[in-house]
């Protein structure tokens, strides 16, 4: 199990690092023309945003005459679980973003009892920028997206009462940067409304015995750019509570992102996932590496 995680990491780390090393300063413009860090980073579900919450921005630096892409590798280690994510995305003209992500949740503590080491999920995402520009429009940037999720190990979710092994989240999102808003620093604010049936994001399946229908969840995030390379902020993600076997809590995180240039973004966070599948108060660290091209 550990071996498979390591090879998964290696498979993604090597290309991401290679991207950073091969690109030369002369090729800077080729990475895309949008202003530094305005593509957000790659969320745990693959779409552009923060760590846990999708934002209205589209990934990479592609502007209205350009193509762009991202590759990312993330890992959250909380008390009794480890989540690993590999993700990639393409952006056409800063209009449409298409993403894929593979999540692997290691059941560090529960694994033996459940006779299941990990839960895997694939997520296929698309996001369209409907209107506005996050930097320049008075009313910010507005986007709509879908995240189609396919749970690959349904035995455990089935046993605890999940209804289906796949589901599709839909969301609308607004993002706006306020220049010189906090002691001369720029403030980025995001709000997302998501319709979902997913249990723990889908890793525990979709729908349940308590509730099986779509519910609208509020997700918010805000961050301050200390300068154009450093963003510090927090996110909050409301979650459904569909399964009677265990309570599901909202998620939140406090993050710092470093964007030394357009090709690389490194995000570190403290995450609190609350109670997850009977194990209480799951908190820990999150680390994410993103390359843009």
């Amino acid at each position: 199990m550990t071996l498979s995680i390591n090879t998964q990491w290696a498979k993604t780390v090597v290309p991401v690092l290679a991207l950073g090393l091969l690109a030369t300063p002369a090729a800077l413009a080729d990475v895309g023309s949008r202003i530094w860090a305005t593509g957000g980073v790659t969320t745990i579900e693959g779409s552009a945003g923060g760590g846990l919450v999708p934002w209205a921005v589209l990934g990479s630096y592609a502007d209205d005459e350009e193509w762009g892409g991202t590759a990312a590798l993330s890992r959250a280690e909380v008390d009794d679980y480890t989540l690993s994510v590999t993700g990639a995305g393409l952006n056409w003209n800063n209009r449409i973003e298409v993403t894929v992500a593979r999540q692997t949740l290691d059941l560090d503590t529960l694994g033996f009892a459940l006779q299941q080491d990990e839960l895997n999920q694939d997520i296929f995402g698309a996001k369209v920028r409907l209107a506005g520009d996050v930097l320049y429009s008075p009313w910010g940037q507005w986007s709509a997206g879908v995240l189609h999720k396919r749970q690959r190990d349904f035995t455990v979710p089935d046993t605890i009462g999940a209804r289906t092994d796949s589901g599709t989240d839909v969301y609308i999102s607004g993002s706006k940067l306020f220049f010189a808003a906090v002691f001369g620093r720029n403030l980025l604010v995001n709000a997302t409304a998501r319709g979902t049936r997913a249990n723990q994001g889908g890793l525990l399946g979709f729908g349940g015995d308590r509730n099986n229908s779509y519910e609208v969840m509020a997700e918010v995030g805000a961050g301050v750019f200390i300068n154009r390379q450093w963003l510090v902020g927090a996110e909050y993600r409301q979650k459904p509570d569909n399964l009677s076997f265990a309570r599901e809590d909202d998620w939140w995180d406090v993050f710092v992102a470093w964007v030394p240039d357009r090709r690389l973004a490194i995000t570190a966070a403290f995450v609190n996932l609350g109670d997850v599948a009977t194990l209480t108060d799951q908190q820990g660290v999150y680390l994410s590496l993103q390359g843009s091209f």
């Binding site: 413009a29 023309s33 209205d64 350009e66 320049y136 220049f179 906090v182 509020a218 909202d250």
Partner: protein, 149 residues
């Protein structure tokens, strides 16, 4: 679910409070010339504009839009414009922004390329981050005129 909604509500209120307080702060700081002083007065702004012009010449995304301009006049007008916007004792005497950019079909890519060059020019002149952000904030209303939206 009850505590969940309360926590989400608190998060929204905190963000709203942050926005409102920051709005008040920018209202108070408008009438002074502190930005103009932070930019190094007219001479400092002239240096930034000069460095920006060097970056534009090298920038394949936008240099074609500047072909055939009178460089000295462009430098003088833009310097006066930024000086005036930042609270300095200058007066922009060039043409109105929307009319000036009417036939140029400026894309978002080109707009961001220029914004990037302005930021890099300010950085190379050691303009503090806060002053950079305040100047760009003053320039924001021109976005729709320059892009002809």
């Amino acid at each position: 679910m009850g505590t969940t909604n309360i926590r989400a509500f608190i998060a929204v209120v905190m963000i709203a409070a942050g926005l409102i307080s920051s709005g008040c702060q920018s209202l108070q700081s408008q009438p002074d010339n502190s930005l103009y002083l932070q930019l190094g007065e007219r001479a400092g702004i002239a240096d930034v504009v000069e460095d920006m012009l060097y970056l534009i010449v090298e920038d394949e995304r936008i240099n074609h839009q500047f072909k055939g301009i009178n460089v000295a006049r462009f430098h003088r007008n833009l310097t006066d414009q930024l000086c005036e916007l930042s609270g300095g004792p200058c007066q922009y005497k060039g043409r109105e922004m929307r009319e000036l950019h009417a036939a140029m079909n400026i894309t978002n890519t080109q707009f961001n390329a220029l914004a990037e060059n302005l930021i890099l020019a300010m950085e190379s002149n050691q303009i503090p981050t806060g002053a950079q952000n305040r100047l760009i904030k003053q320039l924001l209303p021109m976005y729709s005129d320059i892009r002809h939206l």
